[in-house]
C-alpha cells in the first residue's frame, strides 16, 4: 500500500463513518420520542454529514480521479465502503440509539483529539472542527444514558440490552488497519491502540453512573476495514443512493 493509497482509504473511512452514521441518525427525523430529541438527533445527523462531506472531498482530491464528495457518497457499492460496522446497524429503539451514540461518540472524542494534531493539515483542520461537535454529542448521549439507566425498569432493561447487543461491534474501533500502519508513524493517522484504555475507562465510568452492568467481552465482529459488512448496509445504501442511481448526476 503506497502512502497515497493509504491516505485515500484513511480519509475515505473517516468520511464513511460520518456519512453512514449521519444517514442512520436522520431516520429519527419526525420519529423522535419527544420534540427536543427529534431536533437533537437530526442535529447530530447534520454534524456527521458535514464531517463526511469534508473528509470525502479530501479523499476525492487525494485519489486524484476528479471525484467529488457526492460521487464518493452516491456512486460506490457496498463493498467499497469502509465505515465501522456499528454505524450501519439499524437505529433500533431510543435506548439502542443512545447506547450506540455513547460508544461511538466516546471513541470519536479520543480519535479526533489525536487527529487534531495530525501532521496532515487538512485532517488536522477538519478534526479541530469535529472535536468540538463530538464533545457535545458525547455530553448529550451520556446524559441520556444516565437518565434511561436510572429511569424506569423498562428504560433500564432496554438500555442494558442495547449495550449488550452492541458490545461485539466495539472491537473494530481499535483494530490496527493497513492504512494506520502506513500513516501512523508519520503522525498523519492516529494510533487507535493508544487510547483504547482511556476509552474503556470512560465507558466504564458512564456504565457506573447509568447503573449498567458492563457487557462481558467475547467474540468481536470484524470486517469493515476490508469492505465486509452486515446485511444492513446494502439496504441503507439502496435508499440513500436511490436518486443518484436512478437519475445519475441529477442536481437541484
Amino acid at each position: 500500500m503506497t502512502t497515497q493509497e493509504a491516505l485515500f482509504k484513511y480519509t475515505l473511512r473517516l468520511g464513511d463513518n460520518g456519512l453512514i452514521q449521519g444517514q442512520r441518525l436522520s431516520e429519527w427525523c419526525s420519529r423522535g420520542p419527544i420534540l427536543e430529541e427529534d431536533l437533537a438527533i437530526t442535529n447530530l445527523a447534520l454534524d456527521n454529514i458535514g464531517r463526511a462531506q469534508a473528509f470525502l472531498k479530501y479523499a476525492g482530491e487525494v485519489e486524484g480521479k476528479q471525484k467529488t464528495e457526492d460521487d464518493l457518497a452516491f456512486k460506490r457499492g457496498e463493498r467499497e465502503f469502509y465505515n465501522l460496522l456499528m454505524t450501519e446497524l439499524p437505529i433500533g429503539d431510543f435506548a439502542y440509539t443512545v447506547a450506540k451514540q455513547v460508544l461511538i461518540s466516546a471513541y470519536e472524542y479520543f480519535l479526533y483529539t489525536e487527529l487534531s494534531n495530525s501532521t496532515d493539515e487538512i485532517i488536522a483542520g477538519i478534526s479541530q472542527k469535529a472535536i468540538k461537535e463530538v464533545r457535545y454529542h458525547l455530553a448529550h448521549a451520556k446524559d441520556w444514558s444516565e437518565r434511561l439507566g436510572n429511569g424506569t425498569e423498562e428504560s433500564k432493561a432496554r438500555l442494558q440490552k442495547a449495550y449488550d447487543e452492541l458490545w461485539s461491534y466495539t472491537g473494530e474501533f481499535f483494530e490496527t488497519t493497513e492504512e494506520e500502519k502506513v500513516l501512523a508513524p508519520s503522525k498523519v493517522a492516529a494510533t487507535t491502540k493508544n487510547f483504547e484504555a482511556k476509552w474503556n475507562d470512560m465507558i466504564n465510568e458512564i456504565f457506573t453512573i447509568s447503573s449498567i452492568t458492563p457487557p462481558t467481552a467475547g467474540w468481536m465482529q470484524s470486517g469493515s476495514q476490508n469492505g465486509i459488512h452486515t446485511e444492513h448496509l446494502g439496504h441503507l445504501l439502496s435508499e440513500m443512493q436511490y436518486l443518484q442511481r436512478a437519475y445519475p448526476d441529477a442536481k437541484w
Partner: protein
Amino acid sequence: MVKDLQSKEAIFQLLSQIVDPEIPVVTIEEMGMLRDVVITENACEVIITPTYTACPAMGIIEDDIQSVLRENGVENVTVTLVYSPAWTTDLMTEATKEKLKNYGIAAPMHSACSTWMTAAEHVTCPRCNSQHTQLISKFGSTACKALYACQDCLEPFDYFKCH
C-alpha cells in the same frame, strides 16, 4: 475587475456588509466567518470558515458573496472554505454579542466554559436579564443554538452555544 475595487480593503468592505442568513442582525465578518480576501492579477479568492461543519447557511453565504461582488464588477471570484484554525464563538466581539442579545439570542460565554461534561449554566435571559434560566434542549433551531427557558419571564429563548 473594476479598477477602484482592486484593493483588498475595498472588497473586504463590500463583503463585510453580508449578513448571516440565519441571524440577519449580524454580518459574516462580525461572526468571524469571513477570514481573508486574496487578490491576484485577474482573480479574487474569498476565504471563509464555517461555524459548524455542516452549517447549511454556507451555501447561501457563498452565493451572496458571488452576487455582491458580481454586482460591483468584480469577476473571477472563487470562494474557499477552510476549517483551520477552527471557528470559535470567542471571535465575536462584545458589540456583536449585544446585537445577538437584542435580537433575542443569549450570546455565547467564553468557549472555555464548555467542557464535554457539562452544558453552559447560568445563561442570562436576553429579554429580562434574569439568571434564573433552564436548559430545555441541548439542540435548537440551528446547529449553533440550544434552547433555554427563563423561569422569571417564562419566555423560551435561543442560546448561542459556546464553541
